[in-house]
Protein backbone atom coordinates (compact mmCIF):
# COMPACT_ATOMS: atom_id res chain seq x y z
CA UNK A 1 0.00 0.00 0.00
CA UNK A 2 2.87 2.33 0.81
CA UNK A 3 4.34 1.65 -2.62
CA UNK A 4 0.99 2.35 -4.26
CA UNK A 5 0.55 5.63 -2.42
CA UNK A 6 4.08 6.84 -3.16
CA UNK A 7 3.78 5.82 -6.79
CA UNK A 8 0.42 7.53 -7.13
CA UNK A 9 1.75 10.72 -5.58
CA UNK A 10 4.87 10.76 -7.75
CA UNK A 11 3.12 9.81 -10.98
CA UNK A 12 0.45 12.48 -10.36
CA UNK A 13 3.16 15.09 -9.96
CA UNK A 14 4.92 13.91 -13.11
CA UNK A 15 1.68 13.89 -15.07
CA UNK A 16 0.83 17.43 -13.97
CA UNK A 17 4.37 18.52 -14.78
CA UNK A 18 3.71 17.23 -18.32
CA UNK A 19 0.70 19.60 -18.66
CA UNK A 20 -0.87 17.77 -21.66
CA UNK A 21 -3.52 16.00 -19.63
CA UNK A 22 -4.26 19.17 -17.71
CA UNK A 23 -4.96 20.94 -20.99
CA UNK A 24 -6.80 18.17 -22.85
CA UNK A 25 -8.70 16.55 -20.01
CA UNK A 26 -9.36 19.44 -17.64
CA UNK A 27 -9.29 22.73 -19.57
CA UNK A 28 -10.69 21.63 -22.94
CA UNK A 29 -14.03 20.22 -21.63
CA UNK A 30 -14.58 23.22 -19.36
CA UNK A 31 -13.91 25.66 -22.20
CA UNK A 32 -16.24 23.68 -24.45
CA UNK A 33 -19.11 23.64 -21.99
CA UNK A 34 -18.71 27.40 -21.56
CA UNK A 35 -18.80 27.94 -25.34
CA UNK A 36 -21.80 25.66 -25.78
CA UNK A 37 -23.56 27.40 -22.91
CA UNK A 38 -22.87 30.85 -24.32
CA UNK A 39 -23.78 29.99 -27.90
CA UNK A 40 -26.85 27.87 -27.34
CA UNK A 41 -27.89 28.97 -23.87
CA UNK A 42 -31.02 27.20 -22.88
CA UNK A 43 -32.35 26.79 -26.40
CA UNK A 44 -34.28 23.60 -26.87
CA UNK A 45 -32.30 20.81 -28.46
CA UNK A 46 -34.79 20.75 -31.34
CA UNK A 47 -38.28 22.12 -31.85
CA UNK A 48 -40.52 20.74 -29.16
CA UNK A 49 -37.72 18.99 -27.27
CA UNK A 50 -38.13 18.54 -23.55
CA UNK A 51 -34.47 19.30 -22.94
CA UNK A 52 -32.07 22.06 -23.98
CA UNK A 53 -29.14 21.84 -26.34
CA UNK A 54 -26.79 22.13 -23.42
CA UNK A 55 -28.55 19.31 -21.61
CA UNK A 56 -28.12 17.23 -24.69
CA UNK A 57 -24.40 17.93 -24.96
CA UNK A 58 -23.46 17.48 -21.31
CA UNK A 59 -22.68 13.77 -21.49
CA UNK A 60 -20.63 14.15 -24.63
CA UNK A 61 -18.45 16.83 -23.07
CA UNK A 62 -17.82 14.70 -19.99
CA UNK A 63 -16.29 11.99 -22.18
CA UNK A 64 -13.53 14.26 -23.51
CA UNK A 65 -11.36 13.56 -20.48
CA UNK A 66 -12.01 9.82 -20.68
CA UNK A 67 -11.02 9.92 -24.32
CA UNK A 68 -7.88 12.00 -23.68
CA UNK A 69 -6.77 9.76 -20.83
CA UNK A 70 -7.78 6.40 -22.19
CA UNK A 71 -6.99 6.77 -25.86
CA UNK A 72 -4.09 9.22 -25.73
CA UNK A 73 -2.53 9.29 -22.26
CA UNK A 74 -2.62 5.61 -21.39
CA UNK A 75 -1.08 4.16 -24.58
CA UNK A 76 1.65 6.79 -24.57
CA UNK A 77 2.62 6.31 -20.95
CA UNK A 78 2.59 2.51 -21.20
CA UNK A 79 4.75 2.41 -24.28
CA UNK A 80 7.02 5.11 -22.92
CA UNK A 81 7.54 3.24 -19.64
CA UNK A 82 8.20 0.06 -21.52
CA UNK A 83 10.60 1.82 -23.85
CA UNK A 84 12.48 3.42 -20.97
CA UNK A 85 12.64 0.00 -19.29
CA UNK A 86 10.84 1.32 -16.26
CA UNK A 87 8.53 -1.70 -16.32
CA UNK A 88 11.60 -3.91 -16.49
CA UNK A 89 13.12 -2.17 -13.51
CA UNK A 90 10.01 -3.00 -11.51
CA UNK A 91 10.50 -6.65 -12.40
CA UNK A 92 13.68 -6.69 -10.33
CA UNK A 93 12.03 -5.23 -7.24
CA UNK A 94 9.58 -6.92 -4.85
CA UNK A 95 6.78 -4.95 -6.54
CA UNK A 96 5.14 -6.09 -9.74
CA UNK A 97 5.11 -3.79 -12.79
CA UNK A 98 1.33 -4.29 -12.74
CA UNK A 99 1.28 -1.81 -9.86
CA UNK A 100 2.63 1.05 -11.93
CA UNK A 101 0.04 0.33 -14.63
CA UNK A 102 -2.70 0.26 -12.01
CA UNK A 103 -1.46 3.63 -10.78
CA UNK A 104 -1.74 5.03 -14.31
CA UNK A 105 -5.31 3.76 -14.62
CA UNK A 106 -6.17 5.43 -11.32
CA UNK A 107 -4.59 8.70 -12.44
CA UNK A 108 -6.57 8.81 -15.69
CA UNK A 109 -9.72 7.87 -13.81
CA UNK A 110 -9.02 10.77 -11.43
CA UNK A 111 -8.59 13.17 -14.36
CA UNK A 112 -11.91 11.99 -15.78
CA UNK A 113 -13.73 12.38 -12.49
CA UNK A 114 -12.22 15.84 -11.90
CA UNK A 115 -13.29 16.85 -15.36
CA UNK A 116 -16.82 15.51 -14.78
CA UNK A 117 -17.14 17.44 -11.52
CA UNK A 118 -15.82 20.64 -13.11
CA UNK A 119 -17.98 20.42 -16.21
CA UNK A 120 -21.06 19.74 -14.09
CA UNK A 121 -20.25 22.58 -11.70
CA UNK A 122 -19.65 25.07 -14.51
CA UNK A 123 -22.83 23.96 -16.27
CA UNK A 124 -24.88 24.15 -13.09
CA UNK A 125 -23.49 27.46 -11.80
CA UNK A 126 -23.38 29.46 -15.02
CA UNK A 127 -25.98 27.90 -17.25
CA UNK A 128 -28.45 26.38 -14.82
CA UNK A 129 -27.77 22.86 -15.95
CA UNK A 130 -29.21 20.01 -13.96
CA UNK A 131 -29.26 16.30 -14.48
CA UNK A 132 -32.74 15.15 -15.47
CA UNK A 133 -32.28 11.41 -15.41
CA UNK A 134 -30.84 9.25 -12.71
CA UNK A 135 -27.39 9.95 -11.23
CA UNK A 136 -27.02 6.27 -10.58
CA UNK A 137 -27.65 5.33 -14.20
CA UNK A 138 -25.43 8.13 -15.36
CA UNK A 139 -22.49 7.16 -13.14
CA UNK A 140 -22.85 3.50 -14.07
CA UNK A 141 -22.83 4.44 -17.76
CA UNK A 142 -19.89 6.78 -17.17
CA UNK A 143 -17.94 3.98 -15.50
CA UNK A 144 -18.71 1.61 -18.34
CA UNK A 145 -17.56 4.11 -20.96
CA UNK A 146 -14.39 4.68 -18.93
CA UNK A 147 -13.65 0.98 -18.64
CA UNK A 148 -14.13 0.37 -22.35
CA UNK A 149 -12.11 3.41 -23.46
CA UNK A 150 -9.30 2.56 -21.05
CA UNK A 151 -9.26 -0.99 -22.36
CA UNK A 152 -8.62 0.38 -25.86
CA UNK A 153 -5.73 2.38 -24.43
CA UNK A 154 -4.30 -0.66 -22.66
CA UNK A 155 -4.52 -2.60 -25.89
CA UNK A 156 -2.74 0.05 -27.95
CA UNK A 157 -0.07 0.67 -25.29
CA UNK A 158 0.31 -3.03 -24.56
CA UNK A 159 1.01 -4.23 -28.06
CA UNK A 160 2.51 -1.23 -29.90
CA UNK A 161 6.14 -2.15 -30.61
CA UNK A 162 7.45 1.32 -29.78
CA UNK A 163 6.47 4.78 -28.58
CA UNK A 164 6.26 6.18 -32.09
CA UNK A 165 3.78 3.58 -33.30
CA UNK A 166 1.82 3.92 -30.07
CA UNK A 167 1.63 7.67 -30.69
CA UNK A 168 0.45 7.27 -34.27
CA UNK A 169 -2.12 4.61 -33.34
CA UNK A 170 -3.36 6.71 -30.44
CA UNK A 171 -3.76 9.78 -32.68
CA UNK A 172 -5.58 7.75 -35.32
CA UNK A 173 -8.08 6.65 -32.69
CA UNK A 174 -8.19 9.80 -30.60
CA UNK A 175 -8.80 12.57 -33.09
CA UNK A 176 -11.60 10.92 -35.13
CA UNK A 177 -13.25 9.87 -31.88
CA UNK A 178 -12.89 13.29 -30.32
CA UNK A 179 -14.36 15.03 -33.35
CA UNK A 180 -16.86 12.59 -34.84
CA UNK A 181 -18.26 10.72 -31.89
CA UNK A 182 -19.99 13.83 -30.63
CA UNK A 183 -17.56 14.56 -27.80
CA UNK A 184 -16.70 17.98 -29.19
CA UNK A 185 -18.78 18.51 -32.33
CA UNK A 186 -22.38 17.72 -31.30
CA UNK A 187 -23.60 14.51 -32.93
CA UNK A 188 -27.05 16.01 -33.36
CA UNK A 189 -25.90 18.73 -35.77
CA UNK A 190 -24.05 16.28 -38.02
CA UNK A 191 -25.60 15.35 -41.39
CA UNK A 192 -27.30 11.94 -41.38
CA UNK A 193 -24.57 10.27 -43.44
CA UNK A 194 -21.87 11.45 -41.08
CA UNK A 195 -23.96 10.23 -38.16
CA UNK A 196 -24.01 6.77 -39.72
CA UNK A 197 -20.24 6.77 -40.01
CA UNK A 198 -19.89 8.13 -36.47
CA UNK A 199 -22.05 5.28 -35.19
CA UNK A 200 -19.17 2.90 -35.87
CA UNK A 201 -17.01 4.68 -33.29
CA UNK A 202 -17.36 3.05 -29.88
CA UNK A 203 -17.41 6.40 -28.13
CA UNK A 204 -20.51 7.41 -30.12
CA UNK A 205 -22.29 4.45 -28.60
CA UNK A 206 -20.95 5.38 -25.19
CA UNK A 207 -22.23 8.93 -25.53
CA UNK A 208 -25.67 7.67 -26.62
CA UNK A 209 -25.74 5.56 -23.51
CA UNK A 210 -24.77 8.46 -21.28
CA UNK A 211 -27.34 10.67 -22.92
CA UNK A 212 -30.13 8.20 -22.32
CA UNK A 213 -29.06 7.98 -18.68
CA UNK A 214 -28.89 11.67 -17.83
CA UNK A 215 -31.80 12.84 -19.95
CA UNK A 216 -33.88 10.11 -18.39
CA UNK A 217 -34.81 8.75 -21.83
CA UNK A 218 -36.41 5.31 -22.03
CA UNK A 219 -33.84 2.65 -21.31
CA UNK A 220 -35.01 0.24 -24.00
CA UNK A 221 -32.77 1.91 -26.59
CA UNK A 222 -29.58 1.36 -24.64
CA UNK A 223 -29.14 -2.40 -24.93
CA UNK A 224 -27.07 -2.07 -28.10
CA UNK A 225 -24.64 0.57 -26.74
CA UNK A 226 -24.26 -1.31 -23.46
CA UNK A 227 -23.42 -4.49 -25.32
CA UNK A 228 -20.97 -2.67 -27.58
CA UNK A 229 -19.18 -1.16 -24.57
CA UNK A 230 -18.99 -4.46 -22.67
CA UNK A 231 -17.87 -6.52 -25.63
CA UNK A 232 -15.25 -3.92 -26.52
CA UNK A 233 -13.90 -3.87 -22.96
CA UNK A 234 -13.73 -7.66 -22.76
CA UNK A 235 -12.07 -8.07 -26.15
CA UNK A 236 -9.54 -5.27 -25.73
CA UNK A 237 -8.52 -6.20 -22.20
CA UNK A 238 -8.17 -9.90 -23.04
CA UNK A 239 -6.02 -9.18 -26.07
CA UNK A 240 -3.85 -6.74 -24.15
CA UNK A 241 -3.39 -9.15 -21.24
CA UNK A 242 -2.61 -11.99 -23.64
CA UNK A 243 -0.09 -10.05 -25.73
CA UNK A 244 1.30 -7.60 -23.21
CA UNK A 245 5.06 -7.16 -23.35
CA UNK A 246 7.05 -5.83 -20.44
CA UNK A 247 9.90 -4.80 -22.73
Amino acid sequence: MRAFRTLLKTECKLSLRGMDMFIFAICLPVVLIIILGMVFGNKAAYDGAAYSFLDQSFGAVTTIAICAGGIMGLPLVISDYRNRKILKRFQVTPISPVLILAVQLVIYALYSICSLVLVYTVGAVFFGYHLQGSWLHFLAAYLLVMVSMFSIGLLVGGIAPNTKIAGVAASLLYFPMLIFSGATLPYEIMPATLQKVADILPLTQGIKLLKAAYLGLPMNGVIAPVMVMIVLAVICSSISIRFFRWE
Binding site: R2, R5, L7, T10, K13, L14, R17, G18, R89, V92
Partner: protein, 248 residues
Amino acid sequence: MESVIRVEKLCKSYEQITAVKNVDISIRPGEVFGLLGANGAGKSSTMECILGTKKQDSGTVSILGMNPQKGRKKLFEQVGVQFQEANYQDKIRVEELCELTASLYKSPLDYVKLLSQFGLSDKRKSQVSELSGGQKQRLFIALALIPNPKVVFLDELTTGLDARARRDVWKSLSDLKEKGLTILLTSHFMDEVEALCDKIMILKKGESIFCGTVQEAIAASPYEKFEDAYLWFTDEEERENESISDAS
Protein backbone atom coordinates in the same frame (compact mmCIF):
# COMPACT_ATOMS: atom_id res chain seq x y z
CA MET B 1 30.56 -21.35 2.38
CA GLU B 2 27.69 -21.70 -0.04
CA SER B 3 27.47 -19.67 -3.23
CA VAL B 4 25.43 -16.49 -3.25
CA ILE B 5 24.83 -16.82 -6.96
CA ARG B 6 24.89 -20.22 -8.62
CA VAL B 7 24.30 -20.76 -12.31
CA GLU B 8 24.46 -24.17 -13.91
CA LYS B 9 24.45 -25.01 -17.60
CA LEU B 10 22.61 -21.86 -18.55
CA CYS B 11 21.45 -21.74 -22.17
CA LYS B 12 19.48 -19.05 -23.96
CA SER B 13 18.88 -18.47 -27.63
CA TYR B 14 16.76 -16.05 -29.62
CA GLU B 15 15.27 -17.78 -32.62
CA GLN B 16 18.36 -19.03 -34.44
CA ILE B 17 20.99 -17.12 -32.52
CA THR B 18 22.60 -18.62 -29.46
CA ALA B 19 23.11 -15.92 -26.86
CA VAL B 20 24.25 -17.99 -23.89
CA LYS B 21 25.59 -21.53 -24.04
CA ASN B 22 26.32 -23.81 -21.08
CA VAL B 23 27.46 -21.09 -18.72
CA ASP B 24 28.33 -22.10 -15.15
CA ILE B 25 28.89 -19.41 -12.54
CA SER B 26 29.44 -19.67 -8.83
CA ILE B 27 29.94 -16.54 -6.75
CA ARG B 28 30.81 -16.69 -3.08
CA PRO B 29 29.70 -14.18 -0.45
CA GLY B 30 31.64 -10.93 -0.61
CA GLU B 31 33.08 -11.66 -3.99
CA VAL B 32 33.15 -9.19 -6.87
CA PHE B 33 32.58 -11.11 -10.07
CA GLY B 34 33.17 -9.53 -13.47
CA LEU B 35 31.42 -10.71 -16.61
CA LEU B 36 33.47 -9.67 -19.63
CA GLY B 37 33.19 -9.94 -23.37
CA ALA B 38 32.66 -7.93 -26.53
CA ASN B 39 29.30 -6.38 -27.38
CA GLY B 40 26.93 -9.19 -28.23
CA ALA B 41 29.01 -11.80 -26.41
CA GLY B 42 26.07 -12.58 -24.14
CA LYS B 43 26.85 -10.56 -21.00
CA SER B 44 23.49 -8.85 -20.71
CA SER B 45 21.57 -11.99 -21.69
CA THR B 46 23.39 -13.93 -18.99
CA MET B 47 22.66 -11.26 -16.43
CA GLU B 48 19.00 -11.07 -17.40
CA CYS B 49 18.58 -14.82 -17.21
CA ILE B 50 20.15 -14.77 -13.76
CA LEU B 51 17.78 -11.98 -12.69
CA GLY B 52 14.81 -13.73 -14.25
CA THR B 53 13.83 -10.85 -16.55
CA LYS B 54 14.51 -13.28 -19.38
CA LYS B 55 13.60 -16.94 -19.23
CA GLN B 56 16.43 -19.32 -19.94
CA ASP B 57 15.92 -22.23 -22.36
CA SER B 58 17.66 -24.61 -19.99
CA GLY B 59 19.89 -24.63 -16.94
CA THR B 60 19.30 -23.53 -13.38
CA VAL B 61 19.85 -20.27 -11.55
CA SER B 62 19.72 -19.53 -7.87
CA ILE B 63 20.44 -16.33 -5.99
CA LEU B 64 20.70 -16.55 -2.20
CA GLY B 65 19.25 -20.04 -2.57
CA MET B 66 16.13 -18.79 -4.34
CA ASN B 67 14.77 -19.14 -7.83
CA PRO B 68 14.60 -15.57 -9.21
CA GLN B 69 11.35 -16.20 -11.06
CA LYS B 70 9.44 -18.15 -8.43
CA GLY B 71 10.83 -16.31 -5.42
CA ARG B 72 10.82 -12.86 -7.05
CA LYS B 73 9.07 -10.94 -4.27
CA LYS B 74 11.19 -12.31 -1.47
CA LEU B 75 14.46 -12.37 -3.38
CA PHE B 76 14.37 -8.81 -4.65
CA GLU B 77 14.02 -7.45 -1.12
CA GLN B 78 17.69 -8.41 -0.82
CA VAL B 79 19.01 -7.72 -4.32
CA GLY B 80 19.88 -4.37 -5.89
CA VAL B 81 20.02 -3.99 -9.65
CA GLN B 82 21.35 -1.30 -11.92
CA PHE B 83 20.58 -1.84 -15.60
CA GLN B 84 22.65 -0.57 -18.46
CA GLU B 85 19.99 1.80 -19.72
CA ALA B 86 18.94 4.67 -17.55
CA ASN B 87 15.39 3.70 -16.65
CA TYR B 88 13.60 6.50 -14.91
CA GLN B 89 10.57 8.59 -15.68
CA ASP B 90 10.82 11.77 -17.69
CA LYS B 91 11.00 14.93 -15.54
CA ILE B 92 11.43 13.00 -12.28
CA ARG B 93 13.60 14.60 -9.58
CA VAL B 94 16.39 12.83 -7.71
CA GLU B 95 14.52 12.91 -4.44
CA GLU B 96 11.31 11.61 -5.99
CA LEU B 97 13.09 8.71 -7.66
CA CYS B 98 14.75 7.80 -4.37
CA GLU B 99 11.53 8.05 -2.39
CA LEU B 100 9.71 5.96 -4.95
CA THR B 101 12.42 3.31 -4.98
CA ALA B 102 12.49 3.19 -1.19
CA SER B 103 8.71 2.70 -1.07
CA LEU B 104 9.07 -0.58 -2.99
CA TYR B 105 10.95 -2.29 -0.16
CA LYS B 106 9.97 -3.41 3.31
CA SER B 107 13.01 -2.07 5.13
CA PRO B 108 14.87 0.36 2.88
CA LEU B 109 17.95 2.34 3.87
CA ASP B 110 17.64 6.07 4.41
CA TYR B 111 18.15 7.52 0.95
CA VAL B 112 19.12 10.92 2.33
CA LYS B 113 22.17 9.29 3.90
CA LEU B 114 22.95 7.36 0.74
CA LEU B 115 22.77 10.50 -1.36
CA SER B 116 25.17 12.29 0.92
CA GLN B 117 27.45 9.25 0.94
CA PHE B 118 27.60 9.49 -2.85
CA GLY B 119 28.04 13.27 -2.83
CA LEU B 120 24.62 14.03 -4.25
CA SER B 121 23.01 15.85 -1.34
CA ASP B 122 22.88 19.15 -3.17
CA LYS B 123 21.22 17.49 -6.17
CA ARG B 124 18.13 16.27 -4.36
CA LYS B 125 15.84 18.75 -6.06
CA SER B 126 17.41 18.42 -9.51
CA GLN B 127 15.82 16.49 -12.31
CA VAL B 128 17.62 13.19 -12.91
CA SER B 129 17.99 14.04 -16.61
CA GLU B 130 19.96 17.17 -15.71
CA LEU B 131 22.68 15.32 -13.79
CA SER B 132 26.07 14.73 -15.38
CA GLY B 133 27.05 11.23 -16.45
CA GLY B 134 29.06 10.59 -13.30
CA GLN B 135 26.37 11.95 -11.02
CA LYS B 136 23.77 9.77 -12.73
CA GLN B 137 25.85 6.63 -12.31
CA ARG B 138 26.48 7.43 -8.65
CA LEU B 139 22.75 7.96 -8.23
CA PHE B 140 22.06 4.59 -9.83
CA ILE B 141 24.46 2.86 -7.46
CA ALA B 142 22.74 4.61 -4.58
CA LEU B 143 19.37 3.42 -5.91
CA ALA B 144 20.65 -0.15 -6.18
CA LEU B 145 21.69 0.10 -2.52
CA ILE B 146 18.37 1.42 -1.19
CA PRO B 147 17.01 -2.09 -0.46
CA ASN B 148 20.06 -2.68 1.76
CA PRO B 149 20.93 -5.61 -0.48
CA LYS B 150 23.15 -8.61 0.07
CA VAL B 151 23.87 -8.80 -3.66
CA VAL B 152 24.04 -6.12 -6.34
CA PHE B 153 24.04 -6.45 -10.11
CA LEU B 154 25.69 -3.64 -12.02
CA ASP B 155 25.52 -3.64 -15.80
CA GLU B 156 28.18 -1.52 -17.52
CA LEU B 157 28.38 0.85 -14.67
CA THR B 158 31.03 3.20 -15.99
CA THR B 159 30.35 3.24 -19.73
CA GLY B 160 30.29 6.82 -20.95
CA LEU B 161 32.05 8.30 -17.93
CA ASP B 162 35.22 10.36 -17.89
CA ALA B 163 38.33 9.15 -16.07
CA ARG B 164 37.59 11.14 -12.91
CA ALA B 165 33.99 9.95 -12.66
CA ARG B 166 35.06 6.35 -13.21
CA ARG B 167 37.55 6.59 -10.36
CA ASP B 168 34.83 7.96 -8.10
CA VAL B 169 32.56 5.07 -8.97
CA TRP B 170 35.36 2.55 -8.33
CA LYS B 171 35.95 4.11 -4.96
CA SER B 172 32.29 3.67 -4.07
CA LEU B 173 32.38 0.05 -5.17
CA SER B 174 35.55 -0.72 -3.23
CA ASP B 175 33.87 0.63 -0.11
CA LEU B 176 30.89 -1.62 -0.70
CA LYS B 177 33.16 -4.58 -1.26
CA GLU B 178 34.82 -3.93 2.08
CA LYS B 179 31.43 -4.05 3.71
CA GLY B 180 31.03 -7.58 2.39
CA LEU B 181 28.58 -6.99 -0.42
CA THR B 182 28.53 -9.55 -3.23
CA ILE B 183 28.69 -7.84 -6.62
CA LEU B 184 28.17 -9.11 -10.14
CA LEU B 185 29.20 -6.56 -12.74
CA THR B 186 29.77 -6.32 -16.44
CA SER B 187 32.38 -3.99 -17.86
CA HIS B 188 34.32 -3.04 -20.96
CA PHE B 189 37.22 -1.51 -19.06
CA MET B 190 40.04 -3.82 -18.13
CA ASP B 191 41.66 -1.43 -15.66
CA GLU B 192 38.38 -1.34 -13.81
CA VAL B 193 38.07 -5.11 -13.79
CA GLU B 194 41.64 -5.43 -12.52
CA ALA B 195 40.99 -2.96 -9.74
CA LEU B 196 37.68 -4.39 -8.57
CA CYS B 197 37.09 -8.01 -9.52
CA ASP B 198 38.09 -11.04 -7.47
CA LYS B 199 37.02 -13.32 -10.25
CA ILE B 200 36.16 -12.89 -13.89
CA MET B 201 34.48 -14.77 -16.69
CA ILE B 202 35.17 -13.97 -20.32
CA LEU B 203 32.30 -14.71 -22.68
CA LYS B 204 32.54 -15.16 -26.39
CA LYS B 205 29.51 -15.95 -28.55
CA GLY B 206 27.66 -16.94 -25.42
CA GLU B 207 30.26 -19.40 -24.17
CA SER B 208 32.65 -19.05 -21.29
CA ILE B 209 36.18 -19.07 -22.67
CA PHE B 210 37.85 -18.24 -19.38
CA CYS B 211 36.86 -18.26 -15.72
CA GLY B 212 39.21 -17.49 -12.85
CA THR B 213 41.17 -14.61 -11.37
CA VAL B 214 42.80 -11.80 -13.33
CA GLN B 215 46.23 -13.24 -12.49
CA GLU B 216 45.23 -16.64 -13.79
CA ALA B 217 44.02 -15.04 -17.02
CA ILE B 218 47.37 -13.32 -17.50
CA ALA B 219 49.26 -16.51 -16.69
CA ALA B 220 47.24 -18.49 -19.22
CA SER B 221 48.12 -16.03 -22.00
CA PRO B 222 51.48 -15.17 -23.58
CA TYR B 223 51.17 -11.57 -22.28
CA GLU B 224 51.96 -9.69 -19.11
CA LYS B 225 49.23 -7.12 -19.13
CA PHE B 226 45.62 -8.05 -18.45
CA GLU B 227 44.19 -6.05 -21.33
CA ASP B 228 46.48 -7.88 -23.78
CA ALA B 229 45.53 -11.17 -22.21
CA TYR B 230 41.83 -10.30 -22.51
CA LEU B 231 42.21 -9.40 -26.17
CA TRP B 232 44.19 -12.56 -26.73
CA PHE B 233 41.33 -14.59 -25.28
CA THR B 234 38.62 -12.85 -27.24
CA ASP B 235 40.44 -12.26 -30.55
CA GLU B 236 41.86 -15.68 -31.31
CA GLU B 237 39.51 -16.46 -34.15
CA GLU B 238 39.86 -13.03 -35.77
CA ARG B 239 43.63 -13.38 -35.74
CA GLU B 240 43.34 -16.67 -37.54
CA ASN B 241 41.04 -15.12 -40.11
CA GLU B 242 43.47 -12.27 -40.60
CA SER B 243 46.39 -14.57 -41.24
CA ILE B 244 44.30 -16.49 -43.73
CA SER B 245 43.41 -13.32 -45.62
CA ASP B 246 47.04 -12.17 -45.47
CA ALA B 247 48.13 -15.42 -47.03
CA SER B 248 45.72 -15.22 -49.93
